[in-house]
Symmetry: C2
Subunit: 355 residues, 2 copies
């Protein structure tokens, strides 16, 4: 089995090194091949998603991705900026289903800015559609405003859109995920304002007929943002579009206070996937050896489970992570008085040892 | 001076009655005229924004609005649903600047789901553009998908758009508001993905040149949602578009835990405005006499300040509200052990007495 390793920028290479180390001690035969992506891709090959990197990702059975972005690329034109790599990979690999768990580990309850009783035991799975919506819709650009009160002025514009089958397939992912959990799905939309999301609501409602065992409710996105803050534990599986999912999944991740712990998976129709930590490239701490590698290590576990069919190995890694937390080991981002502060590499080694 | 009173649905009439009572004891000459809106408009006249209601709102110097919406109207076609009234009023009255303070009253710190140290003293002003963006952009609808992999399928679609002068005027509102506060503005966008919001960022940056005394920073909307949860007190004035503002202002309001306390103003270019509580119509508690009237009473205070030029009277009301809180009076939504639980009318009477 071939895994494409794309470390990226900032802390990406450091955290990836730990995940690779963990994969290497599982006793499996993985072929791992690395390539430049993001700012590193631009620096070495003039493009954030160099053709060879894309070809590798396409040929691999799964992609393990670090993080992209650095201040030094902020002034590049948009098409060359690091984050275009991730948008390009999603589109080119047709990774339409983004699974983002927001889990609060009992040992880390203190890291949350929310009161313990509001978040302890939090375990939400946000399913974000990832290849449609206003992220890719056309036409888009800056043009002369064609009509209305601002006619003739310059205006920026984008197109939000979802086709029926795009909604159907992500709804199926959500209902099937719920079947393995507590059998409840909240579909988040803005059906009271947007045609796209009235259509979304209609189609999700229709797909739901095939899942009589699942309870479905619909919630407006503004209310969902409120309820995430007010009573997040009421949610189980949430499904939503690309734009709302971007906002809500980050909000939900931050509820845990330990975004350095949260993995993510982006899957295609055949469960081939790209796996990456939910946090960013943190250029301010890059190279210091203090970044938390656990989200990347847990992303590797998700990869084993969803794309490589190695559920047992996935569980081994997840249990090893729980063990190092129970041992009191903490990187700086989740450090609290009474625990032991460790660096990136020590944390990786501790997971290896716990395996 | 003429005030249009639009109580609406659910708890709207109850909370409005208290605000009107407060306005009546100020010793000013206001001409107040009521009209049906929302579900009440539909029930009495077949439309959520009946022509007479719109005419009244247009002829008045300011509009005081309760809340709209009730389960019984959920099955109406979209154009007849209660919330269309609020969208219609915004558009028809050109109320492009929505000011939504998120303030945590010291007495109510316990109501928040966030830890006291994270939110105590919170005082954010969110400025949401209210007449542009994907809320009103055309074309929109359900059509046959014109091209791409889903060609020929049905798709829902909407148009996001902002013209240059729409961005300029809301940026001016934000910078001028910041001049009266701590001189910092955070503009929230998604410039890394959306053409509309790269354009937004460019124009806001340009308007900023006229305000050398103000510090401006730009933040992506997903990061803004995270930072609101992580460290909300870092924000002072936030300015953003209609869609992102809808989500972030509700999220920020909920951080306080006391959304029943938060007023809002929606202003046109001449500071004529519509004032309404940030909470909804709460049909589940309508008619029980337990709703919190303070957000509506504080909305009346905002109205006195922004549209009617009565700063002193606005302050009188605001101080009276602080006083009743200090007295320990609480409606059910903000009740805590050790305080005195009161109903809607008692709360209104207490404010009148404190004046
Ligand atoms: C970097 C950016 C384009 C991306 C997105 O908006 O999807 C990121 O925020 C994410 O959520 O993965
Ligand atoms: C009711 C709805 C159309 C409205 C909006 O989305 O603007 C509401 O959520 C608000 O924020 O006032």
């Amino acid at each position: 089995m071939k895994i494409a390793i794309l470390p990226g920028d900032g802390i990406g290479p450091e955290i990836m090194a730990q995940a690779v180390k963990v994969l290497n001690v599982l006793g499996e035969q993985f072929e791992m091949e690395s390539a430049d992506v993001g700012g590193a891709g631009y620096a070495a090959h003039g493009h954030p998603l160099p053709p060879a990197t894309l070809a590798l990702a396409k040929s691999a059975d799964a992609v393990l991705f670090g993080a992209v972005g650095d201040y030094k690329y902020d002034t590049l034109e948009r098409a060359l900026r690091p984050e275009q790599a991730i948008l390009g990979l999603r589109k080119e690999l047709a990774l339409f289903a983004n699974l983002r768990p927001a889990i609060l580990y009992p040992e880390l309850a203190g890291a949350s800015t929310l009161k313990p009783e509001v978040v302890s035991g939090l375990d939400i799975l946000i399913i974000r559609e990832l290849t449609g919506d206003i992220y890719f819709g056309k036409p888009r650009g800056v043009r002369e405003c064609p009509d209305g009160p601002f006619k003739g002025e310059r205006e920026g514009f984008d197109t939000m859109r979802y086709a029926e089958s795009e909604i159907r397939r992500i709804a199926h992912v959500a209902f099937q995920a719920a079947q393995k959990r507590s059998k409840r799905v909240t579909s988040v939309d803005k059906a009271n304002v947007l045609e796209t999301f009235q259509f979304w609501r209609d189609i999700v409602t229709d797909v739901h007929k095939e899942y009589p065992d699942i309870e479905l409710d619909h919630m407006y996105v503004d209310n969902a943002a409120m309820q995430l803050v007010r009573a997040p534990k009421k949610f189980d599986v949430m499904v939503t579009g690309n734009m709302f999912g971007d906002i809500l999944s980050d909000c939900a991740a931050m509820l845990t206070g330990s975004i350095g712990m949260l993995p993510s998976a982006s899957l295609d129709a055949a469960n081939k996937g790209l796996y990456e930590p939910s946090h960013g490239s943190a250029p301010d701490i890059a190279g210091k050896g203090i970044a938390n590698p656990l989200a990347t290590i847990l992303s590797a576990a998700m990869m084993l489970r969803f794309s490589l069919g190695k559920t047992e190995q996935a569980e081994r890694i997840e249990n090893a992570v729980k063990k190092v937390l129970a041992q009191g080991l903490r990187t700086a981002d989740i450090f609290e008085a009474g625990t032991t502060r460790v660096g990136t590499e020590e944390m990786g080694n501790a997971v290896v040892k716990a395996l």
